[in-house]
């Protein structure tokens, strides 16, 4: 519409400036004409004033309409023009960058003339033309009429192309930043009018790209991305995201959250499988809901059965085998480090009770957990179990941070708050907040409010408010335990592979002695129960994040009834406690925490390794000597130092170029320089990353506008659709970069002027007729 009324596209008006071509003679004639017009208008107004048919507003309207018609005529006579700096034909250059990454092989039809064509086919047609006819494609040919065209293909590398050679679309990623660097260095000193990027937008937003966009902006060279592909697939099934913990303990139940996108598949049935080394370890079938945004989240839980780094392949398969846009995004692989322990948890119990025995029993056969127990028999008399050596906990409950912080988890049983010194309480709080450990409070006649915890530093750590009424004593309430909505989906509470209400209802009732207040903000209830008589809701298990760690509360005092009362072969009690205690220490870090920046690295790329180092008191250590040892899949090892990151205390990083596909095992050694023996001060951490083809190109393979739009607006360019090439060429022709000449485009013949003249004169005439004036 704009172009119809004003002859040119709006962008040209913003680029150019308005000028008038009328010479002095015509200006003189015009001024005389204007003077006559003004006199005529004056007369006209007078004649209206004399008439009794024209009231004030009508007079104004008539005058304005006539002035509009005359004014538009005057403007046209002044011969307006748009002055533009236009590219001088064949003297400026245009760089065309074609994305040849694998995602260009996706077949989507929007924006394309031919139905069911691949993006690559469009690109071929636009650039290199039909095979064997040795003619460039449409875009290339059109550009070549005005510019010197330099074409490049880019994926993970970039290189010059010629229209005589067919393009191959097998790149594993689209590194536009590096391609722009190459273009800039190759075309230095050349009048570059602009850069055209033909891409589906699945490009990496790297630091290099941001840097390059700023350089092009300062050089005044606009970038024009041309979007290939459709913004939404008609029919495609995709694993958009998988959420799995990075590390877990051998034998733990892991809950994987799989986000599935399914445009065009609503109402169909799919199967999601998890495969470990080709073996299906879990699968779930689901019907895709109709309505909504065509995405759904599915949860699958599975038990880890083998130690080491597991490369888990998630695959979604539709039951109808009908075609879809991309099939490569139906599988996705994630890494899971399955660690073997034992990891130490300290269980401090204030009085002998059977709950203590049965919790210990439940986890005794779990090789991943070492439940070091300290049982108070009398004042200053403790019974220790599962300790390493005679000295461990010899003096009772730890009094020093180093002593307590070597455990990953802490379980506090029925022990009154007054047992602890103030420093010990602060240390327990720091154990969760700073060390990142998990603290589990058990119910008991001397625990929580009944144990005098209200108002102590430990009350901060407890997931519920506590009553501070001193007269409060224990009172027993029998509850029928049921998971909450959150608990039903929680990995730690998958006891029988089912979250069946009937299963939970079949468990014996448990006794809760402690009174608790409401849950703290941020805390979540996972198990709750109803009291047998009053049907009141009673909290059973709650959890909250606390600083770097977490805290939990388990209120029943006789969960051993689930061991003693159920059939002897029943494993509910064992599984519950193993999973609760594993969860308690899940994600609890050691002194050295090391990880790759990305779990999976493209072959030929760089792996960035990062480590955070803390001393024995778990405080960030900026003075450690940190070294990484990398073992490649072929068994070759290399060692290099990680360097100190000045911005984050205790953080170290290093880069490694990866040329071998497969799993690379990394051990990071940190010498924190403490203690007399070097060995005592050295801590280490292990992790693995995988190098290989990631197929990342095919995830989120619909046209991504984000990076393209930003690139265009940063550099003064504009985004075009694939079927809007003529507009692109037009825009390029008036680029301020390159060799330009001043070009004046006439505007007197703009239809808008004619419209205004007609509107003014005809409108005035009609109004007069309407009011009965002559």
């Amino acid at each position: 519409m704009f172009e119809f009324l004003f002859n040119y596209r709006s962008e040209l008006f913003s680029q150019g400036e308005l000028t008038f071509l009328a010479g002095p003679v015509r200006l003189l004639m015009l001024s005389v004409g204007l003077a006559l017009t003004a006199w005529a208008l004056h007369r006209y107004r007078k004649s209206l004033t004399g008439s009794d048919k024209a009231s004030g507003p009508v007079q104004g309207l008539l005058l304005a309409l006539r002035a509009l018609g005359v004014g538009a005529l005057v403007v046209a006579l002044l011969e307006p023009a748009l002055a533009l700096s236009a590219i001088k034909p064949q003297e400026s250059f245009v760089a065309v960058l074609a994305d040849t990454s694998a995602s260009m092989t996706v077949t989507d039809t929007e924006d394309l003339d031919q139905p069911a064509a691949t993006r690559a086919a469009w690109l071929d047609r636009s650039l290199v033309g039909a095979p064997f006819d040795n003619e460039p494609g449409d875009l290339w040919r059109d550009l070549a009429t005005r510019f010197q065209v330099r074409a490049y293909a880019f994926d993970e590398t970039a290189g010059r192309i010629d229209f005589a050679e067919p393009l191959s679309f097998d790149g594993r990623r689209s590194d536009l930043g590096s391609a722009l660097t190459m273009v800039r260095s190759e075309l230095t000193g050349v009048p570059l009018a602009g850069v055209v990027v033909l891409t589906d937008g699945a490009i990496e937003s790297t630091d290099v790209l941001i840097d390059e966009s700023l350089r092009f902006r300062s050089a005044g060279i606009p970038i024009f991305p041309v979007a290939v592909g459709s913004a939404r697939f008609d029919r495609d099934l995709e694993i958009a995201e998988i959420r799995v913990p990075r590390r877990t303990l051998l034998g733990s139940t892991v809950l994987a959250q799989v986000q599935i996108g399914y445009p065009g598949f609503a109402g169909e049935t799919i199967t999601v499988e998890i495969r470990d080394e080709g073996r299906v370890i879990q699968q779930r079938t689901a019907e895709l809901p109709v309505g909504g945004d065509d995405t759904m989240s599915l949860e699958l839980s599975f038990r880890t059965q083998a130690e080491g780094t597991r490369s888990l392949e998630f695959a979604v398969t539709p039951q109808s085998r009908a075609a879809e846009a991309v099939t490569l995004n139906n599988t996705k692989t994630v890494l899971l480090e399955v660690e073997s322990g034992p990891h130490k948890i300290l269980y401090f119990e204030g009085e002998p009770r059977f709950e203590y025995k049965f919790i210990r029993r439940a986890v005794a056969e779990d090789p991943q957990l070492q439940l070091v127990s300290l049982l108070r028999m009398a004042d200053n008399r403790f019974y220790r179990q599962s300790v390493d050596g005679e000295d461990e906990l010899r003096g009772g409950f730890p009094t020093r941070r180093e002593e307590l912080f070597k455990y990953r988890g802490l379980v506090l049983g029925s022990i009154e708050a007054s047992f602890f010194t103030y420093e010990q309480m602060r240390m327990i709080v720091d154990f969760a907040a700073e060390r990142g450990g998990g603290v589990l409070f058990l119910g008991g006649s001397n625990a929580l409010a009944e144990g005098g915890y209200a108002g102590t530093p430990l009350s901060e750590l407890i997931p519920t408010e506590l009553s501070d009424r001193r007269e409060v004593g224990p009172r027993g309430v029998s509850v029928n335990v049921q998971p909450t909505a959150l608990g039903r989906e929680h990995a730690a509470l998958q006891l029988q592979g089912t979250s069946d209400d009937a299963f939970w209802a079949s468990l014996p009732e448990l006794l809760v002695l402690n009174r608790t207040g409401r849950l703290k903000p941020g805390a979540a209830a996972l198990l709750a129960g109803q009291t047998a008589g009053t049907q009141e809701a009673q909290l059973v298990l709650a959890h909250q994040r606390f600083g770097a760690g977490s805290s939990m509360l388990f209120l029943p005092t006789d969960s051993f009834r689930w061991q003693m009362r159920l059939p002897t072969e029943d494993q509910t009690h064992e599984i519950l406690w193993r999973q609760i205690l594993r969860w308690l220490i899940n994600g609890v870090d050691d002194r050295v925490v090391a990880s790759p920046q990305r779990d999976r690295v493209e072959l030929g790329g760089d792996a960035v390794l990062e480590a955070t180092v803390r001393d024995q008191r778990f405080q960030a250590d900026p003075n450690a000597l940190v070294e990484a040892e990398v073992t490649s899949p072929s068994g070759a090892t290399s060692r290099f130092d990680l360097t100190w990151d000045p911005l984050t205390e205790g953080r170290y990083s290093g880069e490694l170029s990866v040329n071998e596909p497969g799993l690379h095992a990394v051990t990071v050694f940190a010498d924190t320089g403490e203690g007399s023996q070097a060995t005592a001060a050295t801590a280490k951490a292990n992790f693995t990353f995988e190098a290989g083809s990631l197929n990342e190109e095919f995830f989120g393979a619909v046209r991504q506008a984000g990076v393209m739009t930003r690139l265009a607006s940063e550099t003064g360019g504009q985004t075009f659709a694939g079927n809007d090439i003529s507009a692109l060429i037009d825009q390029l022709s008036y680029s301020t970069a390159g060799v330009t000449v001043r070009e004046e485009r006439p505007l007197w013949n703009m239809p808008i002027l004619l419209c205004l003249i007609l509107l003014g004169l005809l409108g005035e005439w009609s109004a007069r007729r309407w009011k009965g004036l002559r």
Binding site: F358, L375, R376, Y383
Partner: protein, 326 residues
């Protein structure tokens, strides 16, 4: 044990127990009448009355009739069993729960099993309930933090409530004749994690009978000696040798120097044996050729030698601690 003696004790039980705890040899005891005399020496158990009662004990202890009551052996003379442990075999004076429905952490539960009558009363109830109470009196002083129910608690093996009490004590198991439902009850109890302490049976005959009974309860499991480095001997006290604890009569003669005999029948050597589960945890601790119950029952008596009662308390406390920790 079999000296179910008429009992008019005037003994300061607590003082004795304190001296056990510290290993003191000072005893301050009085006896209004020598044990083993008076009515009922071989009759039904008389109601014991503790001279120094616990503060919680209120009211009087009602006389009761003991199940059984016939002399002799044989399945035809099984003592009539209580139908529900909450009603009988004793009329309880104290509720099992505190006010507010709060249970104790530990109940010293004795199995009321089916078996032959012994000297006119049920064999399971030998020394009952005085031994139980007096032992608990000691345990409460020794394990300060243990919240225990200070009274006896007899349980039927086929009771549903048995499983709420993960510690059981049984005596005179040489006279035990378990019914199928009792066998099932005990088997499931033990395999679920319950613990059984066996005491007061002597010689090869009773041993053979017990083994036969247990082989029906736990087929496939074996009874084996508990080595001296086992935690059972070290959970609370370090016990370095197994002591043969005699019954009151033998102990009295021993103290007087009349006899050195501490055994009954052909049970010359005391042994601690056990049945272990598949994870080598002790399920059943068997004190054979030994009468801990009498030592507890008569711990306050000046006639009962301290060395025996000391050991009896120590192994009893260790067994409780073991059962509550392993």
């Amino acid at each position: 044990m079999r000296h179910s003696l008429g009992w008019r004790a005037g003994l300061l039980a607590a003082t004795v127990l304190a001296s056990v705890a510290v290993g003191s040899t000072v005893l301050a005891m009085t006896a209004s009448r020598p044990a083993g005399s008076g009515p009922g020496a071989h009759g039904p158990v008389q109601t014991p009355r503790l001279v120094q009662q616990q503060p919680r004990e209120r009211g009087t202890f009602r006389p009761r009739s003991v199940p059984g009551g016939q002399r002799g052996f044989g399945p035809l003379q099984l003592p009539p069993m209580p139908q529900d442990p909450d009603d009988a075999p004793l009329a309880r004076r104290e509720p099992l729960l505190r006010d507010g429905n709060v249970p104790y952490d530990f109940y010293f539960s004795r199995i009321a099993y089916s078996g032959t009558a012994l000297w006119g009363y049920a064999s399971w109830s030998v020394d009952f309930p005085k031994a139980d109470r007096q032992f608990l009196l000691g345990v409460r002083r020794l394990i300060e933090t243990l919240d225990l129910y200070p009274f006896e608690n007899a349980m039927l093996l086929d009771s549903e409530k048995l499983r709420d009490f993960p510690f059981l004590y049984a005596v005179e198991v040489g006279h035990m004749l378990l019914t199928p439902s009792e066998r099932d009850g005990l088997r499931n109890y033990l395999l679920s994690g319950g613990f059984l302490m066996v005491d007061d049976f002597w010689g090869s005959l009773e041993w053979a009978h017990f083994v036969r009974q247990m082989s029906e309860v736990l087929p496939g499991f074996t009874i084996e000696p508990v080595p001296m480095d086992h935690p059972l001997f070290h959970t609370f006290y370090d016990i370095n040798r197994v002591v043969q604890v005699p019954n009151l009569g033998l102990a009295r003669d021993f103290r007087r120097g009349i006899s050195t005999k501490t055994w009954e029948q052909d049970g010359y050597t005391a042994e601690v044996l056990g049945i272990f589960d598949e994870n080598r945890r002790l399920m059943v601790a068997i004190n054979w050729n030994c009468d801990l119950g009498d030592a507890w029952e008569w711990a306050e008596s000046f006639e009962y030698p301290l060395e025996f009662s000391t050991y009896a308390y120590q192994i009893g406390v260790n067994t409780i601690v073991y059962a509550m920790t392993h």
